[in-house]
């Protein structure tokens, strides 16, 4: 197998519900070589080949293209940078609103704001170091009340984090450079922590599935699009 050749982020099993998640054990053993240990598809949407076990080894799943952000790993890094810029902007505004917005959740949110800013910086440096041109900070917009209504803020935060986690996992099969992979994974894990804590605050399921889902870039871009642009 040529491991440099990215092949699709096909989900072989999907958990559309908690019941589905819990019945994971019953049919965890799956299809052929390389596909048994499943990555869970994002609920609701799936790539074209996600339901086909024979999809393993096929070309990249539809909508899993980051070329709009640049070629190869640099494109993936700029894709991640764009998402991190959005998160960093969002949390900076939230933390600026302070305890009047976040109340006693503020101490749990402040570190997140710092992490996202650090991710922006780390990705920017990585891209520059690799000879690429970092994506510029996107203009952002938020629905009314995002920074005055705690529930609205936290719900949006949760959406960003869960989307971010899936976005990183979605690129795992596409990243070529092992160093980039390790860097991306070390960031993704932090997004997972954020996602869990936000779910905890919101009284939602802290761990949506025993294996985190992944999403193609098209789906991620669609999810954050409402927040981009002036």
């Amino acid at each position: 197998m040529n491991t440099d050749e990215p092949f699709g982020g096909e989900a072989v099993l999907e958990f559309d519900s908690d019941a589905g998640r819990r019945s994971f054990l019953k049919y965890a053993a799956l299809v052929g070589v390389g596909a048994t240990l499943v990555a869970c598809g994002n609920s609701g949407t799936s790539s074209g080949s996600s339901s086909s076990p024979s999809g393993a080894g096929s070309p990249s799943a539809a909508g899993d293209d980051t070329s709009q952000f640049g070629q190869g790993d640099l494109g993936i890094l700029n894709y991640a940078l764009t998402l991190e810029y959005l998160e960093a902007d969002f949390y900076a505004k939230g933390v600026a609103a302070g305890s009047s917005l976040l109340g006693d959740s503020l101490p749990l949110i402040q570190p997140i704001a710092m992490h996202e800013a650090a991710h922006v910086q780390a990705l920017t440096q990585t891209i520059t170091g690799a000879g690429g041109k970092p994506a510029t900070k996107p203009t952002t917009k938020y629905p009314d009340g995002t920074f005055t209504d705690k529930m609205k803020f936290l719900t949006t935060a949760s959406t960003f984090e869960e989307t971010g986690v899936k976005a990183y996992h979605g690129q795992v099969t596409r990243i070529k450079d092992k160093k980039v992979l390790a860097a991306a994974a070390s960031i993704a894990g932090v997004e997972s922590r954020h996602a869990a804590i936000l779910a905890e605050i919101l009284n939602k399921k802290q761990v949506p599935a025993p294996v985190e889902a992944h999403a193609p870039s098209a789906e991620v871009v669609a999810a954050v699009k409402p927040f981009l642009g002036s």
């Binding site: 491991t3 092949f7 819990r22 799956l30 099969t173």
Partner: protein
Amino acid sequence: MLNNCLSRRSFLGRSTIGAGVVISGEAAIQLLSTTRVWAAAAQGDLDILNFALTLEYLEADFYAQGNQAGAKLFTDQHAKDLFQLIASDEQAHVQALSDTVTKLGGKPAAKPTVKYPDGTFTDYKAFLKTSKTFEETGVGAYLGQAGSLTDPMLLQAAAGIFGVECRHAALVGKISGLPAEGGIYMGATETAKTKEDVLAAVKPFIGG
């Protein structure tokens, strides 16, 4: 891949370990620390999966025993719910990793025998501390192997498990009342752990 499977088989064949059979602590430590598990990483996806499986077995056992202790251990419903959720995740990881190794033509590592310090399942604080150790060790162990798994699909699945261990680590940090930074979150990036670090962290729990 075929070659790896064959060599893996002959490696485990000597000890005739079967899935579901409990192996001695000594053998489990050997499995975790053997150079085969690590040195052949670039061509040893199965070995990495079995390494992960051994860690997941430890976690799954730990949480299963915690849940069994139930009200004697958990002081409130929230703790009970959280640790039930975590237990089911770890059990799912064991199952998925074990099934994957089998499907790849390998032999899943057997469940190690485990031991815990006195009071682990009666002293809530001791339980939380051990839980945090297991979760952070799992986080570091998965991240430490990210560069060595060769099959992209396995890597993506491992990333999905890694993220869940990160969630657990954060949630356990929070329920333990640890500080946000350095207790719930461990900085802006996760830190990979070497084989030595992972082994040192879990060794006290293997054997008996």
